[in-house]
């Protein structure tokens, strides 16, 4: 009998509990340490985005370098819904998630039989297409200025209703969404679906020969990841009360790749969570000291790619005595752009 005693895949693993407690108490300590409430909102939103993104990069080995498109589509869809239809938090979010899912599903039809560098280049191309549309389709997107004055609808739960005007209230809402995403994705990566994705990443040909329709799995995970990016985008446009083409740019798409990789997305579920935190702390702490903070963050990325593809999570695992997963991360990194055997 193989009884497999392991914490992996419980509803609420210890790391998640620690993270959620730290984030839940954030409104109490963020100002005393010299930062500000809105930072928490940004971090939580990008964590959602990064966790969804890492389903592709870390778990499936699919290099999506134009993922900002789906974040942007979510942001615009939420804004357009509030401005053109009526003010509704839930319907706005639903509309954003759906729009990003559909866009992701369409793009994935063109991508799912590609691999490595071809896949990566196609995602960049599609990202640029969406960016171009956002800039040029003035009547709908507002062009370079984007959508302005997007209302932040109140949170309606049955009979009760809570305003989200204050950043603390908004933070609590975004945190609740993040918690839900964390729990669901944790389930997903330990489910059969998640295990198949990881098998495909390691050896696509063999996965096919044991009977998995690899195309369907890639299509599904890409669409799902796009939908999660759209969810994050909707929260972002609610937070910013605007949506603009910047978030779709190649630059913004690159940032999420850097965050995920630096954090250790190749070896850990928590990689993007760590990477997002590091990025925003670099921006707000390093940023007060030097204007070149992004350069330093970029250098971290270079160092990670060259020497530490296992990222911060891998370094931590090594520190507590586990295998760092460096070779695993190396292979994953190398596999990203290789077109492999058939």
């Amino acid at each position: 009998m193989t009884k497999r005693v392991s914490s992996a895949g419980r509803w609420l693993p210890r790391e998640m509990a620690v993270l959620l407690v730290a984030l839940a108490t954030l409104p109490l300590w963020i100002e005393p340490v010299g930062l500000y409430q809105y930072l928490g909102v940004e971090i939580a939103i990008w964590m959602i985005y990064g966790l969804g993104f890492n389903l592709l990069l870390g778990y499936s080995g699919l290099p999506s370098f134009g993922h900002g498109a789906f974040f942007g589509i979510g942001a615009y869809a939420f804004g357009l819904f509030q401005l053109w239809a009526f003010e509704s938090l839930w319907l706005g979010i639903l509309c954003a998630v759906f729009a990003a899912f559909v866009a992701g599903a369409v793009v994935a039809c063109f991508l799912s039989h590609r691999r490595g560098i071809y896949f990566a280049l196609m995602t960049i191309a599609f990202g640029q297409v969406f960016w171009f549309i956002a800039i040029k389709w003035h009547a709908v997107t507002g062009g370079e200025d984007g959508l302005l004055n997007i209302p932040r609808p109140a949170l309606d739960v049955g009979l009760a209703s809570a305003g989200l005007e204050s950043n603390t209230a908004l933070y609590c809402f975004v945190l609740a969404v993040l918690a839900a995403v964390l729990v669901l994705l944790w389930r997903l990566v330990h489910s059969p679906f998640g295990k198949v994705l990881q098998a495909i990443r390691q050896n696509e040909a063999r996965a096919r020969f044991v009977g998995y329709n690899v195309w369907m799995f890639k299509w599904t995970v890409f669409s799902l990841s796009a939908a999660i990016a759209g969810l994050a985008g909707s929260l972002f446009s609610m937070a910013q009360q605007s949506a603009y083409p910047d978030v779709i740019s190649l630059h913004a798409s690159g940032i999420i790749v850097m965050m995920t990789l630096i954090g250790g997305g190749f070896v850990s579920f928590w990689g993007p969570v760590i990477g997002v935190t590091v990025y925003f702390l670099a921006r707000d702490v390093l940023g007060t000291l030097t204007e070149t903070w992004l350069l330093w963050f970029g250098l971290m990325f270079v160092v990670a790619v060259l020497f530490k593809p296992e990222g911060i999570a891998g370094a931590w695992q090594e520190h507590v005595g586990a295998a760092s997963g460096r070779s695993r991360a190396r292979r994953a990194l190398a596999g990203l752009l290789s077109t492999g055997r058939d």
């Binding site: 497999r4 997903l188 059969p192 295990k195 020969f209 329709n213 695993r328």
Partner: protein, 247 residues
């Protein structure tokens, strides 16, 4: 009718004709062998039969159903499993997890995004049993990439076996093994023969002649001989290549 039939298979890569009018049939409950020199087209033949390559001409049927040109996953889901000459494992997974993803009941719920796979003790037990059968009991937790060469060869077969196939294709399972491991593998294949229909490509004639019920010889992309081991011992090509007395 045979369980599996290939009729008139042609396959070329560019100008090079690799398979020319290949007819093969494999009976249920038998161990069929394929032999032939390096580069004869044996692996290509497996690749065509299991869906990696589409034949340029010809028909492949499983139990009467035409499966020509189906994708590898569609063919696998119909009950055909194969191992690879060049090993093809899930290197970062444990030995056990390599087999778990290959189980048909896991495959059937491949789109289940919610239930924890590691809580599925039945699947783990099944995979463990397969692991034990290929001689890797006790190595459940070892990363496939960290296994010794011979153990990886066994796991390679285990993955194919885990899907409980109706027909099992093994491509040079002894490739790279020493004599001791080859002997152990012969025992394993002998054991698999009891409850599986097997097709095995092998360059080791002794191995094949001892195990196979029927053997096909492929040379220059054509089947040049076909028959029981005893009948084939008289075959001119076999005699010539068996100089040194291997067969």
């Amino acid at each position: 009718m045979a369980l599996f039939e290939a009729r008139g298979i042609h396959k070329r890569f560019g100008q090079q004709v690799v398979l020319e009018h290949v007819d093969l049939s494999f009976e249920a409950g038998r161990l069929s062998g394929i032999m032939g020199p390096n580069g004869a087209g044996k692996t290509t033949c497996f690749n065509v039969l299991t869906g990696r390559h589409r034949p340029d001409r010809g028909r492949v049927t499983l139990d009467g159903e035409d499966i020509t040109g189906l994708s590898p996953d569609a063919i696998a889901r119909r009950g055909i499993a194969r191992s690879f000459q060049v090993m093809s494992l899930f290197d970062e997974n444990t030995a056990l997890d390599n087999l778990i993803v290959a189980l048909p009941e896991v495959r059937a719920r491949g789109f289940d995004m919610f239930r924890r796979l590691s809580a599925d003790d039945a699947a783990a037990d099944r995979a463990s049993a397969v692991l034990a059968r290929v001689g890797l009991a006790g190595l459940e937790r070892r990363r496939a990439g960290d296994l010794a060469y011979g153990e990886r060869r066994a796991l390679e077969i285990g993955i194919a076996l885990a899907s409980r196939p109706r027909l099992l294709f093994l491509d040079e399972p002894t490739s790279g093994l020493g004599s001791e491991s080859t002997a152990r593998l012969a025992e394993l294949v002998q054991d698999l023969k009891r409850d599986h229909s097997v097709v095995v490509i092998e360059h080791d004639m002794q191995f094949l002649f001892a195990l196979a019920d029927t053997i096909s010889v492929i040379h220059w992309g054509q089947v040049i001989a076909n028959g029981t081991p005893d009948a084939l011992r008289e075959n001119a090509w076999v005699r010539r290549s068996a100089l040194g007395g291997a067969a």
